[in-house]
Amino acid sequence: MNHAGFIIAVYGITFGVIIGLVVYTIRQGRNLSRTVADKDKPWT
């Protein structure tokens, strides 16, 4: 594959950032939901 470094960098950055954001969002949601009453979580 020509320009493999650039191509792998693009895929690595994109998927790495997405996985990082998803993990951060799930953890932040779990931590916050422990401090908030069920009545303030209308999606439950």
């Binding site: 493999a4 997405i18 799930i26 932040q28 916050l32 939901s33 422990r34 908030v36 069920d38």
Partner: protein, 248 residues
């Protein structure tokens, strides 16, 4: 800390789990298909593989900023000024800024291969960078403090002005002479000159990133709702304590 009942932890629902699953399947194909199973382009060679992530991330950034504008308009027009619209606007802008950053980065690396440079002050690149900076400003304004309704009022005005930049970015390649190529899939004549598996992989990317966007916005606006609820509870507790102090 709130001492009322907390039986449910997390912000996921069956619908968001379904979005998540669809995003994993579609983006899994983009990763494998984009890197290994799609052919080289006749002109660009392997560099075309960057398209399978660059184009969908740009699409999501546009979509996110449009959702921010529409949700802000709904907040402004609605008689009840439902704060839920403002949370969707904010969550969508957060996701949009991140995807715009990824678009600029992947485009820069793609430009280095095809144009020989990471950056040029080309109309498409310049207007995209301007859009990116505008929404960073939008997020900064959201973080200025105050009540949820104060935040919604000032940020909705900015969102409605900022969304006007999107047509400028999209049509910049038509309006001015640009190094950046014109639209391939959304071309005005409707003639898509792309190999079947390449088009399928690109559309998988658009679909996968779109459901991922839905997942992220759903989760992030619920997180904002919990932050607002916690702030309201903290204010109520502080007011009650001050009243007790004043009475004693």
């Amino acid at each position: 800390m709130n001492t009322e009942t907390q039986t449910f932890t997390g912000v996921g629902t069956p619908a968001t789990r379904l979005y998540g699953l669809m995003a994993i399947v579609a983006l899994g194909w983009v990763l494998l298909g984009g890197l290994f199973f799609t052919p080289e382009d006749a002109v660009q060679g392997d560099a075309v593989r960057i398209m399978y992530v660059h184009v969908p991330t740009a699409w999501i950034a546009y979509l996110a900023f449009i959702v921010t504008g529409v949700a802000s308009a709904c907040w402004m027009i609605g008689k009840k000024h439902s704060i839920g619209f403002d949370r969707v606007a904010g969550a969508s802008a957060e996701v949009g800024v991140l995807f715009m950053a990824m678009t600029l980065l992947s485009g820069s690396l793609w430009g280095r291969i095809t144009w020989g440079t990471f950056w040029v002050w080309d109309p498409r690149l310049t207007t995209t960078a301007f859009l990116f900076v505008t929404y960073i400003g939008y997020l900064a304004v959201r973080g200025l403090g105050g009540t949820a309704h104060q935040r919604a009022r000032r940020s909705s005005v900015i969102a409605l002005l900022a969304v006007l930049e999107i047509p400028l970015v999209h049509f910049s390649v038509v309006m001015w002479r640009s190094l950046h190529q014109r639209a391939t899939v959304l071309s005005p004549d409707g003639d898509i000159k792309m190999d079947g598996i390449m088009l399928f992989t690109l559309l998988c990317g658009v679909f996968g990133f779109s459901v991922l966007f839905a997942w992220l916005v759903s989760h992030r606006q619920r997180i904002m709702a919990m932050k607002d609820a916690r702030q309201t509870t903290a204010i109520d507790v502080a007011v009650t304590e001050r009243l007790k102090e004043a009475q004693s």
